[in-house]
Symmetry: C2
Subunit: 310 residues, 2 copies
Amino acid sequence: MSTLIETELYTQQEFLSQLVDHRLLIPSGEQGVYGRGMAFERVRTAVDSLITRMSSPDRPETPRFPPLIPRRTLERAGYLKSFPNLCGAVFSFKGKESAALDLLERANRGDDWGVHLSMTDVVLTPAACYPAYPAIAHRGPLPEGGLTLDLGASYVFRNEPSPDPARLQVFHQREMVRMGRPDDVLQWRELWMSRAQDVFAHLELDAKLDLASDPFFGRGGKLLANSQRAQSLKFEVLVPIVCTERTAVASFNYHQEHFGSSFGIQLHDGGVAHTACLGFGLERITLALFREHGLDTNTWPPSVLGRLGV
Amino acid sequence: MSTLIETELYTQQEFLSQLVDHRLLIPSGEQGVYGRGMAFERVRTAVDSLITRMSSPDRPETPRFPPLIPRRTLERAGYLKSFPNLCGAVFSFKGKESAALDLLERANRGDDWGVHLSMTDVVLTPAACYPAYPAIAHRGPLPEGGLTLDLGASYVFRNEPSPDPARLQVFHQREMVRMGRPDDVLQWRELWMSRAQDVFAHLELDAKLDLASDPFFGRGGKLLANSQRAQSLKFEVLVPIVCTERTAVASFNYHQEHFGSSFGIQLHDGGVAHTACLGFGLERITLALFREHGLDTNTWPPSVLGRLGV
């Protein structure tokens, strides 16, 4: 283990201890799964409201989706090709009384009781926009000018337990989606990259917009990531949270025809819709604020508190 | 199939179709998993706010928890004994590249890809109060007078796919918890049963408070349910939604020492804390309102709209 990595781990643990001591995060016993204390939540929901105010000129539709989607939606979205390692499938018990008894005995002994479970038809939502694509496709062709959705703060899941308090297994993605012609979609993404930079400047965070790529699985993943960069499909806003490296707190993604053709989303004229989505990681932004301005909001710059309205 | 059951099924499907036609619910393709349209969400969050206002005289702590808990918490809570059939365990992929390829091919063929997954250390939250017990126990003995928590609207999971729009696999439980001496806990439950009846009266719903029991699994379940009734451990408020039978929209539960001893929650004087919790089913209350007052909120009684503040 290099000295750099050791230092980073120490910093993560130290920051996590401070967050727990100040009752900002509440440990559950599992890495990446935390309750959130009252002060943390006040800031998180204030950031959420700030983004809602920024989104309102788009006059978006605001449907809401639960943290589970049909397994079929995950399959159609192509998630299993890109990120099989990150998905979470829901397994349940369908057995009879004797099997239930054995399940319970195994659990009491600390043995694996998963042998009694089988895969259901639902999985955890890995990206807040996924449920929106089949839902919109189902309504028929898009209106002229396309469609803008503000999906609010949705819980998403990533199977990546980590000691880093900025890398959660379950967190709130504050997500917006645009569907339409390539130009509409790309212009909207540009607008939001500029809005996001304004927001982070207002919150007095040291934010940097950069070209990015997804952590695609496997050897083929590198090629996919290179192609994604070459086509400027993904941008991120990064801020310092714990490590020496910055952490992404927002991403701006152009999917081209991917979801339009996977789910059959049609333009007004019958062509395949292009889509873009953008997401703000609410817990990460909140952590960045506590890291930058201190663990007690009473000592934060009045300018920041004013903009958050807390 | 009896005529009664046929009629009920028809009514469920008819009501669901109406909800979908009015863009109140958004079908996902799986039973019991729906998106929520803008008008539905306006009402649901208004009901949530109404309950928040009712809760504020208790001066509760308001931590928030995600929809996943450690598997260990589920085991310690005794859920696997009572409701093994309802739990949802999260399975993920830990394999290498060749296994990922086989997983993908199976998914593309429509075959079971669950064989490549294994049980993780997290499960879906089955009841909103579960994460609170170990979190509070971890802090040490309760303050004198005990503790009141308002956990807000939490997503919970039940593995029970159903055509009934009032029986969801994933929904918002608006939950409160009281920990303390038996008298404190029982008095608080009494207070909330009375508050709840007021709320439903204000919303002009035909609500009925009744002794109830949980749907415990298996042959032993009947005995558990009888004992629960005999000790008046569970009450429910029931309203008409779809079927001829009323549906529970709120429950008021006294756990005696169960969670206190399972998780080691101590009173100020070192004794084992008693606990009670109560939960409002936000989607069910919202459905009941649309059923009672009509599918278009513009036609609702001004008195109801006023009380909801919508």
